[in-house]
């Protein structure tokens, strides 16, 4: 009843082309931003912020990145984890060499390094397609993972072989390191995610997004229409890896606060993010958020939720159960709705528009 476009007439193409053509959608997004910026930090506990919201936001960013590549451009990548790693290590090196520059700048800039590496490994995509390309991205995954371990320069020759996050401040408030509060880290991360999501939304709704989707849906026709395949694909690789890189830097600096980097960026991480994109919905930005929310909170929910309702669970069992649940849900979702949570969301909105009529 509250969600319909009746009475909202479009008088210009600009209005018709808006990302949120229905006013209620815009209000909804503003409301969500308000919740994210005001309500959650106000009412959420530290545990909620650092164990639920921060992982969720980091994974959302990575999922958006992979969605650009796989969902919008139709190129499967199994190397997202490694591209995240490139971002994390680039950020680490940059802030070590230039400690004076603000860390937020470096987090964003590290995305460009990741983009560069992504483009490099995307070059084979001109000649190879589909599953073959997936294997090519595995080359990136394993090679980069090897670099993270074997090139001590990357981790500043630390004895632990891990990234050690030093304290960095903004207006004298620590935003990374041990003394940064979950609230500050959350605000910084949230802002990065909001801005980058806005960019991604603009990209996919414009010329570039159309070129990506054209390549995905019918590459030969796209080529014959004058869309340069290699350029388009490489741009998708660059943008995708940029997002992954920023997500990786955020993961290390705003979430983990340092640690076993080679574990965080392994092949399983790549798969994880792929699942988020599939379950959320290929070719949907909002779906990336749904997928990230789902997969990143599931282990936490199983680990803390089940004992809370009286089902005792050993730590390892929770992990095994997560595997089973995730596996089962992937199959379930693919069968029920191959287009993921995003499509369910759309159907829901459609029903709401028609309500109380079924059609």
């Amino acid at each position: 009843m509250f969600y319909r476009e009746a009475g909202q007439y479009k008088t210009s193409y600009a209005a018709d082309m808006a990302v949120f053509p229905i006013r209620q959608d815009l209000i909804g997004v503003l409301l969500m931003l308000a919740v994210a910026y005001v309500a959650i930090p106000m009412f959420g506990s530290e545990f909620f912020l650092s164990s639920v919201m921060i992982p969720f936001l980091v994974f959302s960013l990575a999922a958006i990145g992979l969605n650009v590549l796989t969902g919008y451009t139709g190129l499967i990548s199994l190397g997202t984890g490694a591209f995240m790693g490139v971002g994390a290590y680039a950020c680490y090196k940059l802030t070590t060499i230039f400690p004076g520059v603000n860390i937020i700048v470096w987090i964003v800039v590290s995305g460009f390094f990741s983009a560069l590496v992504g483009v490099l490994f995307g070059i084979p995509s001109l000649r190879i397609k589909g599953f073959y390309l997936a294997v090519a991205t595995l080359a990136a995954q394993f090679f980069l993972q090897w670099c993270f371990v074997r090139i001590p320069w990357l981790y500043n020759y630390n004895a632990s072989g891990a990234i050690e996050v030093a304290q960095r401040t903004l207006f004298d408030i620590p935003i990374t390191g041990a003394r940064a509060t979950p609230e500050t880290r959350y605000f910084v991360l949230l802002t990065i995610v909001v801005v980058l999501t806005w960019f991604a939304s603009n990209l996919v709704h414009g010329r570039i997004g159309r070129a990506w989707m054209a390549v995905r849906d019918m590459d030969i026709a796209a080529e014959l229409m004058g869309i340069k395949l290699l350029d388009t694909k490489l741009l998708a690789f660059a943008v995708s890896s940029f997002y992954a890189g920023v997500a990786g830097a955020c993961m290390m600096f705003l979430w983990y606060g340092g640690g076993e980097a080679s574990d965080a960026f392994n092949i399983n991480q790549s798969f994880n993010i792929l699942f988020m994109v599939i379950i959320g919905g290929l070719g949907s930005l909002i779906g990336s958020f749904f997928g990230a929310a789902f997969i990143s909170t599931l282990p936490t929910v199983l680990k803390f939720g089940l004992p809370a309702i009286g089902i005792p669970l050993a730590g390892a069992t929770a992990e095994h159960l997560t595997h089973i649940v995730v596996g089962g849900l992937i199959i379930f979702f693919l069968i029920v709705e191959p287009h993921g949570l995003a499509r369910l969301w759309q159907i829901g909105k459609q029903k709401l528009r028609m309500w109380p009529f079924p059609y």
Binding site: S12, Y13, A14, M17, F199, N202, L203, H205, G206, R207, I208, R210, A211, M213, A214, R216, D217, M218, I220, A221, A222, E223, L224, M225, G226, I227, K228, L235, G283
Partner: protein, 267 residues
């Protein structure tokens, strides 16, 4: 939009595209053998022939998707031997496909807008912001696309995903996407295949209108002889990859070799 050209029925225009002695083979299979013909500015040129005569391969050669082993192609007076499809498109060759090759996951508008890609220039930075030049450009091209949508009478399906449209409409959207490129030469690969009579009449009307209103030169492959005879100014006939006849519809339909090719020769 461009000023209307000299329109339907003119055959005296200058040569827009010349195919000279083109041969194409895949491994040992010869698809096209030493074919030459030309397409003049403003005309509707039909390419006909039995199945497997090499018609689609010919179109593929013209827009740079296949590279012939022998022969040359001159477009707008510029001769080329090998070129990328991208170059053909940017020089003004657009086409539709035998089996509809739309972007199935995109809406009608987005499909036709995609045809404007070559004409859109704003850079990555503005695309990220979708304000200023990028937005203006988007609106400007949207206006052009809306004109095509009006022209093809597909206003009602503007925002539908094309994968869900019936076949006839998909063919129409595909024509719209090609028109969005404002081509000088439009290649239509069986634009009426699988259509019923009414849809065929509609499509014929659009083709004539495109030719009349925009002066677009058209080369089309079609199996329906009635349509070919009515629409085209000149016809080239292929059989087993060779040219067997070339001329006005009346000349061609009287040609003994063409009659043999279509009806078979008694042995």
């Amino acid at each position: 939009m461009r000023a209307p050209g000299d329109g339907h029925g003119t055959t005296a225009g200058e040569v827009l595209l010349a195919v000279e002695g083109v041969s194409l083979s895949f491994g040992g299979v010869k698809a096209i053998t030493d074919v030459s013909f030309d397409i003049r500015k403003g005309e509707i040129r039909a390419i006909i022939g039995p199945n497997g005569a090499g018609k689609t391969s010919m179109l593929n050669v013209i827009n740079g998707f296949y590279h012939p082993q022998q022969g040359r192609i001159a477009f707008k007076g510029e001769t080329r031997k090998r070129m990328r499809p991208y170059v053909a498109a940017s020089q003004g060759i657009a086409r539709t496909f035998q089996n509809v090759a739309l972007f199935k996951g995109m809406s009608t508008i987005d499909n036709i807008m995609a045809g404007r890609t070559l004409k859109m220039k704003t850079g990555f930075f503005w695309q990220c912001l979708r304000h200023g030049p990028a937005l203006n450009e988007e609106i400007e091209h949207r206006k052009f696309v809306e004109e095509i949508i009006d022209f093809l009478e597909i206003q009602a399906i503007r925002k539908m995903p094309v994968g869900k449209l019936p076949y006839g409409l998909q063919k129409r959207v595909e024509l719209g996407r090609a028109l969005a490129m404002q081509p000088d030469l439009l290649l239509l690969d069986e634009p009426m295949a699988g259509m019923n009579l009414e849809e065929k009449e509609d499509m014929s009307r659009f083709i004539i209108d495109v030719n009349n209103q925009y002066g677009t030169t058209i080369a089309l492959i079609e199996h329906d002889m009635g349509v070919v005879m009515d629409l085209s100014d000149r016809v080239v006939v292929l059989e087993y990859g060779r040219k067997i006849a070339d001329g006005t519809p009346a000349e061609v339909s009287a040609d003994q070799k063409v009659i043999d090719a279509y009806l078979g020769v008694p042995h």
